[in-house]
Symmetry: C3
Subunit: 442 residues, 3 copies
Amino acid sequence: MIGTERLPQSADSQLASHIFGFIEELFPICRSITGDGLRQTLRHVAARIPLEIHEVPTGTQAFDWTVPREWNIRDAYVSDSQGRRVIDFQKSNLHVVNYSVPVRKRLSLAELRDHLHTLPEHPDWTPYRTSYYRDSWGFCLSQRQLDSLPDGEYEVVIDSSLEPGSLSYGESVLAGESAGEVLISTHCCHPSLCNDNLSGIAVAAFLAQALAARPRRYTYRFLFIPGTIGAITWLSRNEDAASRVRHGLVLACVGDTGPFSYKKSRRGNADIDRVVLHLLKHSGRPYNVRDFSPYGYDERQFCSPGFDLPVGCLNRTQHGKFAEYHTSADNLAFVNPDALAATLRFLLEVFDVLEQNRSYLSLNPRCEPQLGRRGLYREIGGFPDAEVRELAMLWVLNLSDGKHSLLDIAERSGLCFDAIRQAAGDLLKNELLMPLQLEERI
Amino acid sequence: MIGTERLPQSADSQLASHIFGFIEELFPICRSITGDGLRQTLRHVAARIPLEIHEVPTGTQAFDWTVPREWNIRDAYVSDSQGRRVIDFQKSNLHVVNYSVPVRKRLSLAELRDHLHTLPEHPDWTPYRTSYYRDSWGFCLSQRQLDSLPDGEYEVVIDSSLEPGSLSYGESVLAGESAGEVLISTHCCHPSLCNDNLSGIAVAAFLAQALAARPRRYTYRFLFIPGTIGAITWLSRNEDAASRVRHGLVLACVGDTGPFSYKKSRRGNADIDRVVLHLLKHSGRPYNVRDFSPYGYDERQFCSPGFDLPVGCLNRTQHGKFAEYHTSADNLAFVNPDALAATLRFLLEVFDVLEQNRSYLSLNPRCEPQLGRRGLYREIGGFPDAEVRELAMLWVLNLSDGKHSLLDIAERSGLCFDAIRQAAGDLLKNELLMPLQLEERI
Amino acid sequence: MIGTERLPQSADSQLASHIFGFIEELFPICRSITGDGLRQTLRHVAARIPLEIHEVPTGTQAFDWTVPREWNIRDAYVSDSQGRRVIDFQKSNLHVVNYSVPVRKRLSLAELRDHLHTLPEHPDWTPYRTSYYRDSWGFCLSQRQLDSLPDGEYEVVIDSSLEPGSLSYGESVLAGESAGEVLISTHCCHPSLCNDNLSGIAVAAFLAQALAARPRRYTYRFLFIPGTIGAITWLSRNEDAASRVRHGLVLACVGDTGPFSYKKSRRGNADIDRVVLHLLKHSGRPYNVRDFSPYGYDERQFCSPGFDLPVGCLNRTQHGKFAEYHTSADNLAFVNPDALAATLRFLLEVFDVLEQNRSYLSLNPRCEPQLGRRGLYREIGGFPDAEVRELAMLWVLNLSDGKHSLLDIAERSGLCFDAIRQAAGDLLKNELLMPLQLEERI
């Protein structure tokens, strides 16, 4: 597995079950883009990492948007003439269209149908539907459930409220040596859905925990935000912080067993794009890469032309490419503890490369220095191939001309970043290189 | 068929037969690079579209060239000892080498052979040959015809004249809003050959007719000119107009049933190149593209280094790639009415995109604007895929940063130009975009 | 064969045997990076071409390196208890690890083994090993030889000396019209190995001979140097000359029957890279190209970042890609006279293109000039294809805009350089082009 070497083998399955345990903890909560479910979720995150929970009042302007009324729901059901609940929010919060207005009325099945959502192609699954920005209500249920409803009159109750309140989001900042920031953002507005996106929330929380324990060149900012409106609200209140973002990732759907899938930033060749691709290429495992498009998660906002931040999006199976997406089948059985842990390890690799990447200047630019005399080169000559260690040193020396970073050198040489970084370390120790000032001095 | 939607279905076969009818009308005329056949052809064009016919006197200098003497021919034949015409210009004007000097003499078959041209590999076809710039004469005939000639003496008569006169060409200008010009050029110096290039003449004439009825951002200039010397003569007299050419196409061999073949301008990435390729790619049909080379039609002159105009060349089957090229088999049976009409429709698409292509600036560059509130986005959320309409709007918003035209956006998004243009229109109506000044203000 | 036309057919096999003969002459000599074997080799070269032999004293600083003590060897053997030589330097100089310190002692087989080198995977071959920069000694032998040695005591004698002296290298300069230089470098430090690198030495010597007889735009500098330390020493003493290098090639392993293999310069798109690739592509034969890497021959030094010279490396089969590399099997039977001659011819082609490559300006940039009137274009028109000669002229005219060299034109047109050069010559004669100043005026 990618990055396994960074964590003691024994810790591995423990870590996997811890991340999965956090998902189990969050699963039952009925989240939305505002409301107590979201707030409660943030408090669970705050129990694990230092997290500032922000509350932005309804009606606050955020660029072209306005923070909506807060939605809360206590109960909801459709019951038949005998008073039996045939669709019941208590059984799954997916049964109610998210952001449904309060309703209490009696309807015929025919009238009710206009408010029912099913997935005919997956007759046992309940879809997830939302109606954030239009006053509306509805229920989601399986096709089979719908087919079993007899004609007759039904009572519909949605005990929800849509009232002035606030939009909540969580922010965790790990200060680093430089003001330059790494942004990790994950949406936390979906109700009982696991891959999308309890996997993102859980991995982000454990990532923050792991990074907190390491020395950091960059400052890391974690956002736990409701999708779209959350990102827009954060950006509208944090243009300064946004201007300091050097690298960023949106995390979503990172818990299934599919190969990694990476969506490049709008820039297409940002360091984050290059690092993720470099590691995926050297992982020896299948992966997918796609160019930026303005449809997806909150990279839409971070990569809007007025910001154009170097923020990509990491998934395992991409949203919309797995049948379980936005259905009741995206449940606890769909996410895999080992896959979650492997995602975390991969992310640690990514940030490790970003932390370590820098440029050096060869102090011996004319011809190679004599490595053998310094014990850096084997003493008996004549063998057909160089060792990777030797080759990596030769590459670093050849390209450390002030125009190439270690990542550039890794890319051009075809060697993995780790070999290049180790070579640079050996050469530095031998005073054959000098580090160039980091660009990051804000 | 490409562009079918732009013309009422019923008009379609009518259009096809009209274009073909024009070719039938022009077919019998014996054209050359000067002379009455050419002049007569231009008058046929002038009967359909406003056309200025220019006459440039013999001896006029045109850069490195001189307008040649005018060639006219009344009759020509080879007759046998019984006075029977065995090769007869009256049967096909291809029988005489174009620009043959006058001749009247008796020759043995052996002597005559030096002046006879055949196509041994197509024994029933007569080749088309010219001798514009050397005083010479000759006859073209089928190999079978030649093989049937008995030894003996023959009388040779070419009743032609090569005298001071003028070179004729036709020019039709459709003024547009801007001084920036679109150049459409087609050669009209070939005698009874249909695909090369009565197809070009006919399609250009109908194209001018269609564009005359539309609002035009660009000024369109149509040239009906004899190949090479015509283009050179026009350029030498119109350097100013040439400097205003923003996009251009040479039309030739556009009537056969082969797929479109496009030859890029010398620049290789001019808008005309990109638009033609974009439409071909989205046509769902096979097509060919080739890079510029200085061999071909009058794009040779338009793309000479002193002009380097953004002029490509559109064909169906490329000259020299169909056996019938420059032979008697390039006749009325070889061109297809529907293919002619489809070429016309494709050209209308091309100029439509060029007319519509421009850059906008998003008035909401930081984050997405709220499309749902404006009725531009569906209200129930949670579906896995965006609709093309929505996706196109997101792309236009994301890339309308002042650096991308609609064509750039279409290319990067992979969506067709039409979807992008419609999205821009919807966003403009909603005051989410502002148009940038067109570059064209000469 | 590539370039056959440049030498009279009859001279061809003569040339092949001459080059091979030179290799036979050099084969027995025990070369190293210093010492009499190297010196003697240079004198053999000097017998064929004017060669200055430089001697650089032990202890001289060369950038990060120091010229080592001089190594000379008179005899070496391992003998058994009966006094029979079981490993004998007199039979092959490969038997002694190159640069072994003097030794005279008695050892058990077990103790001796630590100093023995074999190739288990090729049990009949003796490997070539060196220990230039650590005081050490050893013997090389075949695995079969080793296996046949009975236990017991052996006498080990290496009658060598490592003493202050000098490092020798040879330099041959053929002055040209301009100060701009072409560097041809080949290492000459290997003992009895043929492809690596007597082939390089022999081909370089014959190349110098052939170029001496030609007019030269460039100055050609041939280096016959010990690997690594020789190149570094030369560069440290000749920074001025290095700054005048416009094109360069390292020659090694050019005598086997494999296809050509070219390693690009660090710049990757230097003229030398483009010319070699152009000729290989048009050769109609298989070939290999690889990007620069800092492992290989002396291009490592020439392409170090402080020099970054446009120097590539030409091989037939690449070092380390043939099993015989650095073994006793790289002997006279492994190199092929015809392959050596073909390498020489190919190099003459390469330098011919570099010599001939320049830029012209069309004196007729607006439209084509009338080639027919100058007898440069066939007079009867109408044929489907242009002749290569005509096409080449059209390309030269079209691209001679001051921004394209003949090589650029050859690359873009897909025609071979020779056709382009001939076309330029014809156009020049007809005063249709003017030569642009060569960049080379130092």
